[in-house]
Each structure stands twice: as C-alpha cells, then as structure tokens.
Symmetry: C2
Subunit: 255 residues, 2 copies
C-alpha cells in the first residue's frame, strides 16, 4: 500500500486524485492541501483536506501538482522529513525541490480539462528521482495507474514539453483558425472533423514527414497565393505564409 498526499487543487490535482482514489487496494490518499478554498471543496467530502502546508501528513509520497511558478516557494515551505516529494511539471527541473533529500518528478504527459475524463492507462508517466531507490517507488505508483511508465531526465522532459506545445497548443490553434474560416464563410466546421481524425490516425503508421500533403508540399504557388488572399485577418495570413514556407523548405531540402 502506498500512501499519498497531494498539494494542489487544479486540473492535474483533481484528475490525479480521482485516478488514485480508484485503486483503494493499493493506494491510500491521505490528504489534499490547497490554498484555494473554493477548489479545495471538490475534495473535502472524499478525503482529509487542509489549507495549511504545516499540516501535511507523513505519506510515502507527497505530490506537488500546482502552477510551475509556485513549485519552488511551496517546496521551501514544506517541513517534512523522509517523505518522497515530487512535482508534476513538464518543464521544471527536479532540482527545484532541492531543499529536500528525497525528491523526484511524476509527470503525466497529457492535457487535462475540467469535466473531461481521460483514461490514465494510456498516459505516459515520465518519472525521475534523485535517489535510485525512489525511482522504484515512483515506478510502483506509475504502474498502478498507467501502462506506460518511462524514466527520463529533467532535460529530456523539457524537450518533450516543448514538443507537446506543438502537438497540443499549436494543433489546437491551427484548428481554431480553420474554425474561424468556417464561421466567416458560413460552412460547418464539423464537416472537417473526420478529416482531422484521419490526419491524426495516419500518424500512427506514417511519420509526419511522410504524411504531409497539400499545396505547400507540392509548391503549388497559385493555390498558396489564392488561399492567402481568402484569409481576412493579418495574423492568419502570416501563419498561412510562415507554415507554408516551412513546409516548402522541409521538402525543398529533400530534392
């Protein structure tokens, strides 16, 4: 049985909490600590809660699941010994927790939204620890909730997080522009959903380099110019131009 305390009450904390609570035979969540009383109320009927970091339980693992910028100062305030303290950030180094001896990272590589259940089994859990023995503890926890636990360094995790910005944030934004084009021209964005799904499913078999199609790949300047002219916002034109240039360069290099 692993005992866990969670610091934080946001999306990651909530999703992680719900997941951990669903394995009562192997995991005991001792406590959730958070300063935001409104979001702390989500937990209060289910587990012991507190808004004071000094009240922290002595669990096997203390998971800090809060905003990146607050990790360091919260870590400084924690007065616990012999507890493995980890954060859940994709971009922050493990050494932020350096005040303590037993430290690590437990990073679920996924986007979490309020009210959207995700299956943890498929989420890669990226772990790291200062002491080797603690890696086994994190592995044990990771394997209870996910089929994919990988040990990576802070530097590697940072690269993954950068790649994740392209995969999630930028994919979403180019779809936002598609949505705007549809609204403006009174066609249904929903018609594009099967295309989006196939675009993604293709990447299970092909690399994005091999999967690329379209006017920029073909260097079809006439279509590129015509499409740029159809866009009404300057920022959308610029994105169309910048991405098309980069696609042309990518495949130009190959010739």
């Amino acid at each position: 049985m692993l005992s866990i305390s969670i610091i934080g009450t946001g999306n990651v904390a909530q999703h992680l909490f719900d997941e951990l609570m669903s394995y009562p035979k192997s995991i005991k969540v001792d406590q959730v600590i958070g300063r935001n009383l409104k979001s702390l109320s989500y937990f209060k009927d289910k587990v012991e809660t507190s808004s004071d970091y000094n009240n922290i339980s002595h669990s096997d693992i203390c998971i800090i699941a809060i905003n990146d910028d607050a990790i360091s100062s919260v870590s400084q305030q924690l007065k616990i010994n012999n507890c493995l303290i980890v954060h859940t950030s994709g971009s922050k180094a493990m050494t932020l927790l350096d005040k303590h001896k037993r430290i690590g990272v437990f990073y679920p590589l996924q986007t979490f939204s309020k009210n959207r259940k995700v299956s943890f089994k498929t989420i890669p859990i990226c772990i790291e620890s200062a002491q080797e023995a603690d890696l086994f503890v994190l592995q044990k926890l990771g394997k209870i909730i996910s089929n994919k636990v990988v040990t990576i360094t802070s530097k590697e995790r940072k690269s993954l997080h950068l790649a994740a910005v392209f995969v999630n944030n930028f994919t979403n934004h180019v779809n936002h522009i598609a949505h705007e084009v549809c609204l403006e021209n009174k066609v249904s964005y929903k018609l594009l959903h099967p295309l989006l799904l196939e675009t993604i499913h293709k990447l299970e078999e092909l690399s994005p380099l091999d999967a690329q199609t379209g006017p920029a790949k073909r260097d079809d300047q006439r279509t590129i110019e015509a499409q740029k002219n159809m866009l009404t916002k300057a920022s959308h034109k610029k994105i169309y131009h910048t991405l098309s240039q980069s696609i042309k360069e990518t495949y130009g290099e190959e010739l």
Copy 2:
C-alpha cells in the same frame, strides 16, 4: 442502378473506385480511364480500362478524379452527351466543366493515402450541380457510400478547402516539428501520441477557442522565450513565435 465511369488513376480515383465497387447491387463501374499506364494497371483486372478519352463509355455519371490543374483541359477533350460530368476537387469551381451541359461536383472531404483504407461512411460528400435534377443523382450516389451528403456552392467548398489546409496540412506540419524536436533531443515522439489524440477528441465537445491551453494562452513570456531558445532551426523558432503571437492576440482581444 447507377453506372459510373472514372477518369483518373491517383489516390482519390483508387479509393473512390474501391468504394463504388463494394456496392455491386446499386452501382456499376463501367470503366476507368487514365493516361498513366502504370497506375492504370491497378484497375485492369477489375474493370474495363482505357488510356484514350475518346473511348469513354456512356455511363450515368462520369467522375473526373485528377489533379486540379488538369481538370479543365481533360473536360475540353471529352466528347460525351447527356452524361453527368463531375469533378472531385475541393478548390476548383464547377464552372471549369462549362463546356458540357450536365455538370457538377462530387467532393469527398478527406485526405487519401496509398494503402490506407478509410471508411467512406463518415466522409462528408460535398455535392453541387448546374441543373437541379442532377443534384438528386449526386445525392443518390453520395448516400450509397456516405452517411453525410451536403449540398454546397463552389465558393463554400473553396472556404472548406482552405479550412482543410489548416486542419490537415498545418496540423501535420506542427507535428512534424514536434517529431524533429524529439529526434534532436533523443526522446520518443510516440510518447506524445495519447496527447495528440486527446487534443483532437476534446474538439468533439469544445470549440478550439475554448480548448486552448499553454504558455501563449497564459501569456507566460518566460516559458515562451525559454522554449524558443531551445529550438535550433530558424524556421521552427519563427513558427513558434508566429503561432504564440496569434494565440496571445486571440485571447488578448477577449480581455
């Protein structure tokens, strides 16, 4: 029973042919015509083939599924009367076929790759015709293979095609950059696939405007600068910058 001739031997022609052939009770494919003998060989054991446009059969519908730039000249060469002639292009106007009386468009809104089977049932078929009676013919054909047949104008189709470039081509390219970041830093791009899937599935419930997250949305300048500095290629830095700026503007406007 609808009889069909197909002009063209590329990806769209092949996928459409295979699909039409799977409904032998309602559709009869009379013939496939193509100039490229090598790709014409794909069809030759299954149906009558020819490389001469003058040999075209008198089917109910003649589907021109070839490169956008060739549609007009091929249409000019066709000598058939009283056959409904359609093209399958997303970006070209129906009027390219103006030499003939009964004309239209039969545009399956999907990306087709060699050796990848897609289910036509979910593909929106966008149809258009010069004469109203022909719309029923295209509707009849569309409904045999797909659950989603929509009538749209050439102008609307052009907008959809522009949006499709964002949804497919640009989504793929930002994922290509993520892939490159992973290769360069020796982390596995496959770890990001569950994130990509969730990014897309979220858009079934939320608009891309509501689904946006990340450093640019939060206007987290420190992370933005740090991540830009991690990118080694100038074109990737430029894309990171341009997309982040646009995201910041999108949400800045809201405040």
